[in-house]
């Protein structure tokens, strides 16, 4: 086909002046009859009032973070340079990415986080949250402040709960250091500490956790209520005598609830541009579930890995085809796998 034969893209047909006049007239009419058409400057003034307590809170956060840095071992946990960001969850739990850290807030919880990705810190205002912290490498430890309790982490997953000045810390994996009123304790995986008995470290109750490695941070929402999990091997060190296992069939895992899984999948989709590595890890975490979203997530992980020239792409695709031989993305997976093999 030579260039003269080419049809080219379909032309965008212009609207006539009469049509434009009709559009404009209709637009102004609809705007005049719709009181919510434009948020005027005057209407936006309530934000100014909201800004006053927000600024006050930011100042409080700065003071509290500063106090954390005054402790003998916390020299590297200096005040963040960026303006703090406050995240509040409503009736449902919510998750937020904070650099390479993933924070899942329980319902009715609030956390203030510094925006300085080098010296990350979070102030738990109230409620509880799970923190998944990627290995810090040469960066200063991640610090969580909850009242008088300061938690320092190098790379782990743990939970901090706060009620007034009482705080509880539980570690899923890794090690954290808890500073409280001059004292310091170390918590390992499966251990729990509370400010009511600051000198004691006890075994945590079994909870539903994803057995993630540090390379694949868990991004699943943590349920607000505690659940037992006998399906997966639990690598945490817990003393059987300290633990009263709860009913094993009482609840489904979050990743096994289709609506939650779908929400998580969409979160990872949105995360792909900003942090593809975290999105990939999130897809992989989601792919461990049993809903149809596990299938979609595994294919998404394969596709993303392929796009990033990640060497795992081929293995993930093979895994997909093995796990979901009748999956909705089988054809695409085969095609992509063939494409990858052709590239090599």
């Amino acid at each position: 086909m030579n260039d003269q034969d080419r049809l080219g893209p379909p032309p965008v047909e212009p609207l006539s002046d009469l049509s434009w006049a009709r559009v404009e007239r209709g637009l102004w009419t609809r705007m005049d009859s719709d009181p919510t058409r434009v948020v005027s400057v005057a209407r936006s003034r309530p934000w100014l009032w909201a800004a006053v307590p927000a600024l006050a809170f930011a100042a409080l956060a700065l003071v509290l973070f500063g106090r954390g840095s005054e402790s003998p071992d916390a020299g590297s946990t200096g005040q963040a340079d960026g303006q703090p960001m406050r995240v509040v969850s409503g009736a449902a739990s919510s998750a937020v990415m904070f650099g390479d850290a993933h924070v899942t807030l329980d319902a009715d919880s609030a956390v203030v986080m510094s925006r300085d990705l080098e010296k990350q810190s979070a102030l738990l205002e109230h409620g509880a949250a799970w923190f998944s912290i990627a290995p810090r490498g040469s960066r200063p430890p991640f610090v969580v402040v909850a009242g008088d309790t300061v938690v320092r982490v190098i790379g782990t997953r743990f939970r901090v709960a706060r009620s007034d000045e009482r705080a509880t810390v539980e570690v899923d994996h890794g090690i954290v250091e808890v500073q409280y009123r001059g004292g310091t304790v170390q918590l390992r995986a499966g251990q729990r500490w509370t400010s009511q008995q600051p000198s004691q470290v006890v075994a945590a109750e079994p909870a539903v956790v994803e057995t993630a490695t540090v390379d694949e941070p868990v991004v699943d929402s943590k349920p607000a209520t505690r659940r037992s999990d006998t399906r997966r091997g639990d690598t945490r060190r817990t003393e059987p005598s300290d633990v009263k296992a709860k009913s094993t069939d009482a609840h489904l895992l979050d990743s096994e609830q289709p609506e939650i899984a779908r929400t998580q999948y969409e979160r990872m989709q949105a995360l792909e541009v900003r942090d593809p590595a975290a999105a990939l890890a999130g897809y992989l975490a989601l792919s461990r579930g049993t809903t149809r979203w596990a299938e979609v997530a595994l294919f998404a992980a394969s596709r993303l890995a392929a796009d990033r020239h990640d060497t795992r792409a081929e293995g993930l695709l093979k895994n997909y085809l093995q796990r979901f031989p009748a999956g909705a993305n089988v054809d695409d997976a085969r095609e992509l796998l063939a494409h990858l093999k052709g590239d090599h």
Binding site: M1, R6, L7, G8, P9, P10, P11, V12, E13, L15, S19, W20, R22, V23, E24, G26, L27, W28, R30, M31, D34, T36, R37, V38, V39, S40, V41, S44, Q269, E272, V273, P276, R303, L304, D307, D332
Partner: protein, 213 residues
């Protein structure tokens, strides 16, 4: 993967330096969002071609186009207070227009309207015949697009038909480049399946695919 370079883009406002453009955009948005009708009209006149272009590309010839343009501008005016000048006003308006198109497709799945009331008869004049062929091909293409997932359709329309870069489509659709690439790929795959039974569509798709190399 740059598919076509023929898209008419509306991101440049005159030849003024970028900073001036941004300041101009922010000032215009601020005045329009405060209820200044002159500023609103100025914004409408400046952006209407861009909004129309985006909607037409995604939806094709459509009898609801005038209403859809109004819908898009209503959304634009509602959202104006959130405009911070991170992108040009034109790009920002097109993003909202794209969102409006998505909502329109999801809501009522408009069917592409035939552009001719009578059966096309190929005329002897070469130019006219080419135009008729184009209309026929466009009609088949948009009829096939009507049956696609709205996200796939939008990605394909903007990237392949309109010739925008994947990065630009990602911005307009508020998705990742990877997601856009996948959507285009899937749209093309679905279209090719349909083209197996439609010679005109097959030929036109082949031409479009040829244009991306």
């Amino acid at each position: 993967m740059r598919l076509f370079s023929r898209a008419a883009h509306y991101d440049n406002v005159g030849t003024a330096p970028a900073v001036t453009v941004r300041e101009h955009d922010i000032d215009l948005a601020r005045r329009a969002s405060s209820g200044d009708r002159d500023a609103q009209r100025q914004l409408f006149l400046a952006q209407r071609a861009a909004v129309h272009h985006a909607l037409f590309r995604i939806l094709g010839a459509n009898r609801d186009l005038e209403d859809l343009i109004q819908d898009a501008f209503l959304e634009i005016f509602r959202a104006l207070p959130s405009f911070r000048g991170d992108s040009t006003l034109a790009r920002w308006c097109q993003t909202i227009a794209t969102r409006s198109a998505y909502l329109a497709i999801s809501r009522r799945r408009p069917v592409a309207v035939d552009l001719a009331l009578v059966e096309d008869v190929l005329p002897s004049d070469a130019d006219t015949r080419r135009q008729v062929q184009m209309r026929l091909a466009a009609r088949r293409l948009y009829a096939a697009l009507d049956r696609l997932d709205p996200k796939h359709r939008i990605a394909f329309a903007l990237a392949v038909i309109d010739g925008r870069s994947l990065a630009e489509v990602a911005q307009l659709t508020e998705a990742s480049v990877v997601a856009v690439k996948t959507r285009v790929w899937r749209a093309r795959k679905d279209l090719m399946k349909r083209a197996a039974k439609d010679e005109v569509l097959a030929s036109y798709l082949a031409e479009l695919d040829g244009g991306e190399r």
